[in-house]
């Protein structure tokens, strides 16, 4: 590359590069951006990068790191090179994530009511009953508006074949949406000139739509619902997001200690006495929402909240018990779940899953183990995973014998390669290619839905690393969806 900022960029043919074509030419939609970068020297860019960082500090978009004697504030690393998605590709993503969210909602209704999908033999009963996230208390309960997963975060990757694949559905308390918006704000402040040259979809309408969605699921008999955001408090790493959303919606940000329940109604403690609360967007996990029913030691929740919910006097968003539908085991059935409830073909691909319990699959797994990832179905957080091409011959034999002994406990998936994107690396003072994924945000309400046109592009900042989580040194990028 001729540009000084790209002098150390290495192009890898085996990966999908979001910015460059196979012949190392810049993709059309990135050309204008490139022209802008070519006018800048390394020093210019360094100073821009510093300004963008200052913008995050000043906006207070930070998280605390607790050291020995003092707490330090840090920002999530932010990259000045935006990811661009053209409108055709985005249409595909948007339809796909909405289809998944709707199917998951119907699945949850079924799971907590008649369980027809189990009776039809599509999802095995033990997948549900063995899940720690299945809430017995929710059986037979009709959530307001019939909605369980009001807010879904869908994690997508682009494989080397150029197709998007869903990696994970998050329908408990998906976070990250505030970063989508503040990444945009920071980029606008730093590189305002570029925005004139692209027609980009806005991301600032999320909070307004979220409020409208919350209002569609108000309890019966309430005209003007009082909605609130429930946060664990200022020390939570996502506190910025909670306060951002509350402010964006113009509603109160409450903590558990601000609420109380009387005669199965929920109230907040205001300067003029109690005020009834109708819809709670809670950013507190299921097990902490009510010490009377779940974890008795929880100080984050509200005593009696769950009972008020079951009486239909308050709506909790997302509904308790959604976790049963977003674990790894259910993920493998998503194509069948979509087909069963919507009678549609899945728009977004699932990473193909081989079940060790199926003889044909098992045969394939044993023959192709080098190219597969073997995962236990009931673990989370990356435990018990074996990546075929990183194992020694002896280790492969151990894995083979384990999965043959417990075929029901294991699945296998092809090793997916995340696409790469040019990313500014501070230490190198230049752009390098790094792996990225994309989290989208979908809202479902009664007769209303909304998909944020943009998303959180997460970047694995360590060279060659595939893990994009912020806890493991991941950063993020502004994500532009182009208008038609």
């Amino acid at each position: 590359m001729d540009l000084p900022l790209f002098s150390s960029y290495s192009y890898k043919k085996t990966l999908f590069d979001e910015v460059f074509e196979k012949d190392e030419k810049i993709r059309d939609m990135y050309k204008t951006l490139f022209k802008v970068y070519s006018d800048r020297s390394i020093d210019d860019f360094k100073s821009l990068n510093e300004k963008a960082k200052a913008s995050f500090f000043n906006q207070g978009i930070t998280f605390q790191v607790y050291g020995n004697n003092e707490t330090k504030e840090k920002i999530f690393p932010f990259d000045l090179f935006p990811r661009i998605i053209d409108n055709t590709e985005w249409d595909h993503i948007e339809k796909g994530v909405l289809q998944r969210s709707k199917a998951l909602n119907l699945f949850l209704w079924d799971v907590y009511h008649d369980q027809n999908i189990i009776k039809a033999g599509i999802v095995p009963k033990e997948m549900i009953t063995s899940s720690v996230n299945f809430l017995e208390e929710m059986v037979g309960f009709d959530p307001p508006g019939g909605i369980y997963n009001h807010i879904s975060g869908t994690d997508l990757i682009k494989h080397s074949d150029g197709n998007y694949y869903v990696l994970e559905d998050n329908i408990r308390c998906p976070s990250g949406v505030s970063y989508v918006i503040c990444n945009r704000t920071a980029l606008k402040r730093a590189l305002f000139g570029i925005f004139n040259q692209y027609k980009i979809q806005t991301v600032t309408d999320y909070a307004q739509n979220l409020l409208e969605i919350l209002e569609t699921v108000k309890p019966e008999g309430v005209d003007n619902p009082t909605c609130v955001v429930l946060t664990p408090g200022v020390f939570n790493s996502a506190y910025y997001e909670h306060s951002y959303l509350a402010k964006g919606m113009g509603v109160e940000l409450v903590e558990g200690r601000d609420l109380f329940v009387e005669n199965d109604f929920v109230y907040m403690k205001t300067i003029n006495g109690p005020k009834r609360v109708d819809v709670i967007y809670r950013r507190v996990d299921d097990i902490f929402i009510d010490p009377d029913v779940f974890n008795p030691d929880s100080v984050l929740g509200v005593s009696g909240l769950f009972s008020a919910y079951l009486k239909g006097h308050v709506c909790l968003v997302n509904a308790p018990g959604t976790g049963v539908a977003d674990d790894k085991a259910i993920y493998t059935y998503m194509p069948d779940i979509i087909k069963y409830y919507l009678n549609e073909k899945p728009i977004l691909k699932n990473v193909h899953t081989y079940h060790c319990s199926r003889p044909d699959d098992m045969k394939y797994i044993l023959e192709n183990i080098d190219n597969l990832v073997i995962k236990p179905v009931d673990e989370s957080g990356g435990y018990g995973i074996s990546i075929g091409n990183k194992l020694t011959q002896e280790e492969i034999e151990v894995v083979k014998s384990t999965i043959q002994k417990h075929p029901r406990k294991y699945i296998a998936q092809p090793i997916m390669s995340l696409s790469v994107h040019a990313t500014y690396i501070e230490e190198e003072e230049s752009f390098e290619s790094r792996h990225v994924d994309l989290r989208t945000f979908t809202l479902l309400g009664k007769d209303k839905d909304f998909i944020l046109k943009g998303g959180l592009t997460r970047v694995a900042l360590k060279r060659g690393n595939l893990v994009v989580n912020s806890s493991q040194g991941g950063g993020s990028k502004d994500t532009w969806v182009l208008k038609k």
Partner: protein, 332 residues
């Protein structure tokens, strides 16, 4: 508005106001002493003691003070409750907890302020940048107050912040008056000592004249510490002395920094919070109006005659109001 958040906003207002007064007292007093007319009020020990007196640090009374240490304690020492850095930290912590209620513009300014103080080089501050530091602090607080006035919805949240600001203002102005009054008493004590040694008539007259100028300069410094010097000159058109200065700073209803003006603001904003038609006896709104009216209808001579009692009495009453408000509005 949530009771917990109301408490946060109240204290955010108080800490912003406190920061400003500490910074201004530090700056004005320090710099005016550099060319003070007599040796005594120019002496570093005298000024440093006065600075510590104002922030309420009595630990080092009667001890030889180290200038960089004192400046550090008041400006950037995290471990001193009264330090500017601590006040800014607490203002921001309180703003954090009420972040959804205040405007983005206000929050960003507080945050920027916090990072400014946090990242200020301690060595530079102690040795050469006292003026730069304090000026920036004073400007930041002015911007903050402008953002409060101009970007917030003027509802209960706004009134809570203004209430905190004005209650704190009245307390800080009283503290500043007290500190300077104390300085003047010390200077007078020294002068009396000099006079008893020199009783020849010509010299005696000159000395008295000199002393009057010295004292008048201290009253001017007091007015500058409260940013009210120019307006006091405009209003009284006289050289500052004990009566006109105290009258202006305590009882003048049009002086934005005067105690009675601050109390009027407190009374106005507490009315917004209360939904009671009849004011119950001993409620915070009752106590606020009681003290406001007491000072509204007072002569300065009534205060001047027993200044110590005035200071003790008014501070006690203001603390009682703050406690009462906590009981009535902030309990959660």
């Amino acid at each position: 508005m949530l009771a917990r958040v109301a408490n946060n906003l109240f204290w955010m207002g108080r800490y912003i106001e406190r920061t400003e007064h500490v910074a201004r007292y530090l700056s004005v007093n320090y710099f005016s002493s550099l060319d003070a007319p007599n040796e005594f009020s120019q002496s570093r020990q005298f000024v440093l003691q006065s600075l510590l007196f104002m922030v309420g640090d009595t630990e080092k009374e009667d001890k030889i003070l180290d200038e960089p240490d004192v400046l550090f304690d008041i400006g950037l020492n995290n471990e001193k409750e009264y330090s500017i850095i601590n006040c800014v930290k607490l203002a921001r912590e309180n703003a954090n907890s009420a972040r959804d209620l205040i405007s983005t513009e206000l929050y960003e300014t507080i945050n920027k302020f916090y990072h400014f103080v946090l990242n200020y080089c301690v060595e530079d501050y102690k040795k050469k940048k006292l003026y730069d530091f304090t000026t920036n602090i004073i400007e930041f607080t002015a911007i903050l107050k402008a953002k409060i006035r101009n970007t917030l919805l003027q509802d209960e949240a706004f009134s809570i912040i203004r209430l905190g600001l004005n209650l704190e203002r009245s307390i800080q102005v009283i503290r500043i008056i007290n500190a300077k009054y104390n300085d003047i008493l010390i200077i007078k004590g020294k002068q009396n000592g000099q006079i008893s040694k020199n009783n020849q008539s010509v010299q005696h007259q000159e000395l008295l004249k000199e002393h009057r100028t010295d004292i008048s300069l201290e009253w001017s410094t007091l007015l500058k510490c409260v940013e009210s010097y120019d307006m006091m000159r405009r209003f009284h058109k006289k050289t500052p002395d004990n009566i006109n200065t105290l009258d202006f700073l305590i009882l003048n209803e049009n002086c934005p920094r005067s105690v009675v003006n601050s109390l009027a603001e407190v009374a106005k904003h507490i009315q917004v919070l209360s939904c009671e038609k009849n004011i119950p006896k001993n409620s915070s709104i009752f106590l606020v109006n009681k003290i406001y009216n007491e000072y509204k209808y007072k002569y300065i001579e009534e205060i001047e005659v027993d200044f110590r009692t005035f200071i003790e009495d008014i501070l006690k009453k203001l603390v009682a109001i703050s406690k009462k408000m906590e009981e009535e509005y902030f309990t959660y």
